[in-house]
Symmetry: C2
Subunit: 320 residues, 2 copies
Amino acid sequence: METIPTLEELHHAHQRIRPFIHRTPVLTSELVNKAAGCSIFFKCENFQKVGAFKMRGASNAILCLPATRISRGVATHSSGNHAQALAKAASNMGCKAFIVMPESAPQVKVDAVKSYGAEIYFCHSTQQAREQTLRSVLKETGATFIHPYDDYNIIAGQATAAAELIEEVKNLNALVTPVGGGGLLSGTCLAANYLAPEALVYGSEPSGADDAFRSFESGTVHPSIDPKTIADGLLTALSERTFGIIRKYAQKILTVEDAQIVSAMQLVWERMKIIIEPSAAVPLAAVLSQPQLFKEKKVGIILSGGNVDLNKLPFTLPFP
Amino acid sequence: METIPTLEELHHAHQRIRPFIHRTPVLTSELVNKAAGCSIFFKCENFQKVGAFKMRGASNAILCLPATRISRGVATHSSGNHAQALAKAASNMGCKAFIVMPESAPQVKVDAVKSYGAEIYFCHSTQQAREQTLRSVLKETGATFIHPYDDYNIIAGQATAAAELIEEVKNLNALVTPVGGGGLLSGTCLAANYLAPEALVYGSEPSGADDAFRSFESGTVHPSIDPKTIADGLLTALSERTFGIIRKYAQKILTVEDAQIVSAMQLVWERMKIIIEPSAAVPLAAVLSQPQLFKEKKVGIILSGGNVDLNKLPFTLPFP
């Protein structure tokens, strides 16, 4: 689709992807609520297929392709959750997937993508090398490029996480998501606008990768230059499509320090006994650091994913 | 109660404790099923209050006391989940709790017990010092000793985890639990005997602490001498009450190596995105190591708890 998805298009996306995704549970924790001074409803996309909400958007994007393009496959460049999601979604639909990954990608992620039957093309880890390799893959294979977020079908797919949360928890006062490229945040903005218009939508971002914050404040998309954060899912910059929605419908972008991210992640692991990745802890870190904004409110948080390398956990770092 | 709990007594225990416990979810994982060659239904007591099934038995034991004894409080010696469960259950019922803990107990466990308002008595870490300190606490306070497992009210409480699982998942072929003192295993035996008599019940134990295996094979309770395992919840020996039930109703005790426990724990963390403690991984390790026993069966596993020290995780150990 070439315009901002309508409510009807969100419904269609949801129907389309339903057989291929989990309806993830919504969890709460008395202890976390006490710490935050509000009632938080956690939408557990860490339990989603491939361990991240990205499965929703990738499934919708492929299902929206005409049969002639599905037969030639899909392609993307990513070393993160989008790569796994596209590989898995393609495999569900009998479609080939070609994934460009940097040679430096962790073996565990390479193995995951391979396990879904995707074909991997390695390249140097610069943005230029990735794009160039992708171009030659597209030329060689005739596959369709599926952008990780600058795509209204992706955005409509990601919107279904918030739509399910809103359906399950009535009268939310706020929704908070992480923001990297903005696919999840823009989708959440649309779901809230159509289905819970009284709920305020916040993005949350590491202060070491605060390009979305700067974009939002200045009104123009800032690039993400040399971002430094433990939240490795949030390194990318917004795109025109995601920014257009976020600027219109989001309330604010909240930034948090890495130490606050680790601390929020530890709170969830220890008290809720569920595994979330650093990027997924950013919204809780934001809520904990801005208690006045959320005091006694009903707050929905999307736990975006649970893919962490258990051999490289951050809990031995000193943090407050 | 002074005889093996009847079905009616299990029902009463369940009604009694229901306001004080979570009805924990049952989770499944396609990936784990594929690895195991059977269909596993995980009863998530890691999500239980205080992070372990022990909350069930402790709540039932206190609720069975007459008011005159509740007014004088309850006591136990434990550095593990029973201490936290008794402290929290006592606090729920406006009852004092006196907990004898070894000076060597991890600060995080001491803090947890304190946070529930219990009074802690420290002692040397020998069994003799614990028992002596407990005797003097009982004498001084008039409190009632609540044994962690050699108590039919505790056993009836622990049985409710399997009872819920059996209610939710029909036609289970097998149930597998860890076994330390045998409270969970004996309770599970009773629940299966009354509610799913066709299901075979297995205990699972670290080979470095295989006193229950030896007791079961020889027909007489073996002590647990110098046990060595990462599964620190399973160090204790069976008691007369738990052994009496287990010998009668359990099928077998399966033993596994620590490396298999760590590997099963990692599988659950990585694939199911939930946190379980090493003791809770023992049943899955047993199922994975004995595929012929469980091939294509419907297997219920009780994930007994999720209390781990995030600063001391075992995943950097070499394991197969």
